[in-house]
Symmetry: C7
Subunit: 254 residues, 7 copies
């Protein structure tokens, strides 16, 4: 009836050496709306699809600022993500207060991953049900893009995507990521938008309502580009799309 008896407690190993509760929590990430991330030599960009709760809702955040040099895009449980973002903001504030300079992104993300790992080894808490894409720019080491998982794993990427239908975005990014290091700010943003187009549900389109982009980098504090600010980029996308439709016939897979 039930699949097995090893999957209801995060501290129980299955006979195959798996932690099934952690794997189930990762399902939650796969069902979140898609996020993408990518970076050039000077900038890191994250993008996300916003799900429309309701047209009357003023905003439902998928991208959150952590500090002037860092932000996150989320897929999964929003409440978990908000709680983690709050913790990250505090860590950044404390670091700045003590050392007089921004928190190095690698260090914060390692601590964040350990915070995830601990929930997988004790029965008092459940694993977090959210994946984060962290875009950051460190004065010393340049732009970074990290992905965290409910398992406590953390990866650094040149470009990646998470969430529902993110495979389409990954395919796009893999095709183009070798050209990213030299890309300008606006090119990165366009790549982010193009990779997101394939992640929209059903016959939906990427619009200024459901799209959301953020950038951080050299001489560029973290900024969020949404709604009307997004229009100019979507216009370019549409032009391309039209061209693409006529041009190479399979724009969605681009």
């Amino acid at each position: 009836m039930h699949r097995n008896m090893y999957d209801t407690d995060v501290t129980v190993w299955s006979p195959e050496g798996r932690l099934l509760q952690v794997e189930y929590a990762m399902e939650s990430v796969k069902q979140g709306s898609a996020c993408v991330g990518l970076r050039s030599s000077n900038y890191a960009v994250i993008g996300a699809l916003k799900r429309s709760v309701n047209e009357m809702a003023s905003h439902q955040k998928k991208i959150m600022e952590i500090d002037h040099h860092m932000g996150v895009a989320i897929a999964g449980l929003t409440a978990d993500a908000r709680s983690l973002a709050k913790w990250m903001r505090n860590e950044c504030l404390n670091h700045k207060y003590v050392y007089g300079q921004p928190m190095p992104s690698k260090r914060l993300c390692d601590d964040l991953a350990d915070k995830h790992q601990r929930t997988t080894q004790t029965y008092v808490r459940r694993p977090y049900g959210v994946g984060l894409l962290v875009a950051a720019y460190d004065e010393a080491t340049g732009p970074h893009l990290f992905q965290t998982c409910p398992s406590g794993n953390i990866y650094e990427y040149y470009a990646t995507a998470i969430g529902a239908r993110s495979q389409s975005a990954k395919t796009y990014l893999e095709k183009h990521y070798e050209t990213f290091p030299e890309s300008e700010k606006d090119d990165l943003i366009m790549h982010a938008l193009r990779s997101l187009t394939g992640c929209v549900q059903g016959d939906g389109e990427l619009t200024k309502e459901n799209g959301s982009i953020a950038i951080v980098g050299k001489d560029q504090k973290f900024i969020l580009i949404e709604n009307d600010d997004l229009t100019q980029y979507l216009d370019r996308l549409e032009v391309e799309g039209g061209a693409a439709e006529g041009g190479d016939g399979d724009a969605m897979q681009e």
Copy 2:
């Protein structure tokens, strides 16, 4: 026999990546009597249907004042709501004591959402079984309308409705919310009342006994409008209703 084995512990993930106990707690909100909320550029209004325990009961609160600039309407477990409202009042008092000015509503609601989130990640407590509509007016940022959920999610709305039969109210609000920013106080109250009419159970009517409205805004401290204070608005509603019945034939859906 039972649906599955992942739904009796809030810290257990289902194989599909869901937290079923949180979803069940949200059912409790759906069964509470309906509440609506809406805002203009200067005011936020919340309204609620009171369930009649008994004609001898002097009052059963569905709307509670938190501070001069904030109040909540509730759907779900009243005891949970009262406990949360008490906590919110204390937070407001402490903030005013420390900083000499009212608690910013966004900050309080974020803390409130985190309070909800924590109950979803530990086995020692159950998720709260109540949804809140928070109406607030901040000197700096104007009127706000927030909705909290048992999951720890929080949304900001121009207008929304929760609780039993709230779909009818949502339909009304979606049809009209674009006109709200310019509305006067009394117009907002009338919109609230009209949206509530469709949420009354069975053949019931909105009356001064079961209706309850509150408003807060620019130069307007939080006030509750109930019983006889509500009569003038209900009278206008009745006039409209009569007109409506003759006029466009489907007043309830208005």
Copy 3:
């Protein structure tokens, strides 16, 4: 076999969004012997049926004094009630000690309700198995009548009844409560007794042994009227009863 799997832990939600353990605790109240409460503009009266443990028992309390201005009638687990009454007495003493005046009844009852609510949200304690009718008189706001529930709900009433066969008393009270505000002390007491008559088990009668009344109000400290003190009122009741039987034929439902 068993009804469902969601009903043995107070921190578990059923799929329908209910807390079944709380509902079961409320059954305990429904099985307690009946209590009634009512108030006029100046007085609050509570009455209760005492169950006879044994004719040799000197007294089994159903009504307890909390302070000079407050008392409770109980239905459900006596031991739970005694423990709560003790806590209420301490709260009253502390308040008087700190502020030099009696505890406002509304404030105490709100704290009492929160004490109930907390037992419904943690697995370490069970919900209380008792309902209280609190009669109080505050210098500032006059007489009050509150009812608390195992769920943590609290209601203020003009008149109400709880416990076994209390529907009969409610019916009586609903018929007459509009005349209560102007009633004199003795009239209130007579109303309480009349409402109790229908709650006596089987063919039993209301007697000075099983009846118990208390009153508190303006210039009237809390007093308990039992045994011989009750006789004069029971005599009046009997006279009425005879009259009633001849008069309107259905005295018990009165």
Copy 4:
């Protein structure tokens, strides 16, 4: 197979609003050997049947002194009773040390009942498996007789009996208790012995080995009457018994 699923945890309510674990603990009292208690205007007497562990055992206590003005008779788990009696002794010592006078019996018994109640509301301890009959004499209020239950209930009696076959004793006491207030010390002791005779198992008789009586009262510190001290009373009982057999034919029920 098993009766239901609500009866293995003291903090779980059955759907009928009962706490079955508490009811099971009360069975333990019903199986203890019988105890009786009664009081006149000036004295309180408790009596108990001692079960014979073994003729080589020097004594197995069923009645314990708490203080000069108080003692208990027990039915149920002896180890629980001893632990409670130790606590009561300490309370009395502390009270005497702080206030310079004996602990009022009512106050101690209320605290004792609360100690019982707490074990019924938390999962970390089981309910006590013992019932106590407390005989006490307070300078201010005269003699008292209390009974405590595993449920945390407490009753004050003129006369009562608990334990195995105690119904026979209750029947005797109910028949005679109205004459107790005027009784002399020795008469009370004889009533206690007579009520115990019907509780002896099988064809057994009340003897100086299995009987045990204690008295406390006005100008009478608590004393235990056992073994040879009991002989004179048993002799009187035998004389009566012979008379009774000839006299009214049903001595055992007397």
Copy 5:
């Protein structure tokens, strides 16, 4: 299949008002090798059968000294007994240090019984699986013999026996215990040995290897009589046995 569902948790009452886990722990005592105890007006003697783990084991203690005036014989789990004996030794040391005189044996045994009782009322520990016979001599009250049980019960005896096949020893002791008060030291020891003979397993005999005796009393510090020290007594026993076999035909039951 299983006997019932009330027997795996020490804090769960069975519907018959029993604590089955405590009863199971008492089985552990019944399976320990036998111990006997007896006392005269001036001495207390304990004896025990040692089980042979292995002829190469130098000694496996069944009797332990607690203080100069006290010792214990054990039946059941040795590890539990050793842990309890260590606690008793510490209590004696502390008492001597604080009061300058030996710990009264009754007081220590009451505390010991409470230590047992507490394990029967909380789920965090199991009941002890050992019974103790405590032999002690108090300057003020003379010799004592106590028996403790896993249930927390404690009994004082003139003579008794516990453990496997102890019924035979009890029968012997009951036949002779009335003569013990006047017995000399060596007579008591002989009684102890005779009572032990019937407890030896199978066709085994009481030998200097498996027998163990200890005595404490007036002007007699606790001493252990084992191995060669025991020979003289065993020789007397053999002589008797021979005589007995010829004499009264049923030496084993003597």
Copy 6:
């Protein structure tokens, strides 16, 4: 249906005296990608296969530096390993701070093993799901190679391999380890690479992308050799391989 009832709790022994949860955790190690370790008289080398998450990931570490004289290769849960490595780094820092010299590797590994053992004896945590190969060079005792297990076992080796398909590597190492003590740095590295070749999944090859080597030793601080740094060694391997294919026909088993 399920295999047995002793395998879901780490603190439960199976009737055969096994701790099944610990054994299941060891499965997690067996499924990690392979690691090898070996040492000469002066150097210790560890090597690992990196699994390709994604070509866009910048690096996924399988070998981590702990201190200048120590590093680890991991097989199993990366998040557990990272958390353990962080702890090891802190221990090294603290030791250096207090004693002014590097932490002896044997001492750290013993503490590490105890850290593992503790998770196998308490129910609050699960066993770690990772195996470590620790390569270290102590000034006093030369190079060391330790392996830790989820069970808390620790082994010192001349050469070994763990993880998926590690048997192939073990076979290679057993064949050659007797020649290691005299090997030069580069020879050791070549042995590590050759042993890894058989562990690559399917028809895959050892490449600069999936291979990873580290060395520590006399006058040689810990260094990681990856990517382009690895090319020279892989080139030598290919030359050999070609030779081998022609030479002895079964290069993979070498």
Copy 7:
């Protein structure tokens, strides 16, 4: 299906008065490779069979030094043993620091046994899965040989053996132990080796790789005899073996 319901929790008694989890833990000892211990008037010797993990492992300890005057041989879970040995070493160091002389072995072993006992009485930890043979030499009392068990039992022996196939060693030791008191150092070592020969698995032989001996005694600090140091003794054994085979035909059982 399952054997019974009393065997998964160490704090649950079976109806027969057994603690099954403790018994299962003892199985773990029976499956460890064999250890032997024996002592003369001046020396204590322990010996053990090492299981070969792998020929490349440098050493897998079965005998550990605790202090200059004490060492242990282990059978069962190595990680548990290492953790216990560490604790024993600390106890010895603390004792030497405080009292200026070595820890008496009896005292340490009693404390060790209590440490075992505590794990059998609480649900938070599992019983240790290891048996220890402790060889020690105390200045005051000479050589000692103790055996500890998971149950918390402790035995002192002249000679004994534990672990897989240890019955063969026991048989040898029982045959010869009466001659041990007078034996010289080397004779004891030879007895230890001879007793171990029968414990080797299958057709295996006792070799310098799998054998391990340690001795401590008068003017003899604890030393471990392994590998090449063991050769001279194994040579003597082989000579004997040859002789034996010709001599009394059943050398293995000697």
